[in-house]
Amino acid sequence: MKAKVFVSLKPGVLDPQGKAIQHSVELLGFTGIADVRQGKYFEIALQDSADQEEAREAVARMAREVLSNPIIEDYRVEIEG
């Protein structure tokens, strides 16, 4: 079983890295980009015997307490069987 955690900056929190990436992409010739936001992605391998709902709760807690800083970031958890 695998858990995927996506951490992104909350709307309104300045993302200077996203802005720099947008600028670089535009230099490549891509147009029509309204905004780029950079985030983090984690893959957590879980024992296959783990209960899916319990795993979701455990990973959500990891995301809340370690992987993200709730002052500036949101997170989303996906569990793959």
Binding site: V13, L14, P16, V66, L67, N69, I71, I72
Partner: protein, 232 residues
């Protein structure tokens, strides 16, 4: 009075702080390895600058889980003094001992230069020997010093005069141009509600001798020493 300097894997301003306390302030000081948990013999702690845990995940995020940090929280809750410098400020925010967070600098650069900060209040154990409005010249050295917080937190910080240092120009005027990293409300340092925990991005410990380009940082350590002497 005894000072303790908490050392994490990746701390690199620990010896600077030790030198200042022992040689400039002239007080007993010891290093505290991050796995130690007994802080009974200390009156004030310094969480020094550096790159604890290589800044992995977020600056300060992993240091928060070091064994010493539970003791640091109890130490702070008991009213004793905790000073976080640079990475130490980031750790104190991640640990919830100070509000808000420090994110990537506005212009993305790692900034290593001397800047000016204005002392906004004398009503802290760290600034009681400094008149409000005094401009200090201190070095900064960080990539993630851009202070952010929500509106409610900012209102509270302003109302309770918990913004202790703001970036300014050499005449003490705050402006976007004098703000090196984009920090909200030009914040360079804040204290907690009880005023015994202070975090700041500039490095006062690197500015305690004229030989190093400035001795303005000494007043911060002198203030703290004066506070401790009065308490004792």
């Amino acid at each position: 009075m005894k000072f303790g300097i908490v050392v994490f894997p990746g701390s690199n301003c620990d010896h600077d702080a030790y030198h200042v306390i022992s040689k400039q302030v002239g007080q007993p000081v010891d290093f505290i390895w991050h796995r130690d948990t007994n802080l009974n013999s200390f009156d004030a702690l310094i969480i020094p600058g550096g790159f604890s845990y290589g800044d992995y995940l977020r600056a300060g995020a992993l240091a928060r889980f070091s064994p010493v940090m539970d003791s640091v929280k109890k130490f702070a809750a008991s009213g004793r003094f905790v000073l976080g410098i640079c990475n130490g400020f980031q750790i104190l925010c991640e640990a919830g001992l100070l509000p808000g967070a420090l994110i990537r600098n506005r212009d993305l650069h790692f900034i290593c230069e001397h800047v000016y900060v204005r002392v906004e209040t004398s009503d802290t154990p760290y600034t009681n020997e400094i008149a409000p409005g005094t401009v200090l010249r201190l070095p900064i050295a960080h990539a993630d010093g851009n202070y952010v917080c929500d509106d409610a937190t900012l209102d509270e910080l302003q109302r309770d005069q918990r913004i202790v240092f703001r970036y300014c120009d050499e005449n003490g005027n705050v402006s976007a141009a004098a703000n090196p990293n984009g920090s909200r409300d030009h914040i360079a340092g804040i204290c907690n509600a009880a005023r015994n925990v202070l975090g700041l991005m500039p490095h006062p410990e690197r500015a305690c001798e004229e030989l190093l380009g400035s001795s303005d940082g000494r007043d911060i350590f002198r203030s703290l020493a004066a506070t401790l002497a009065a308490v004792a």
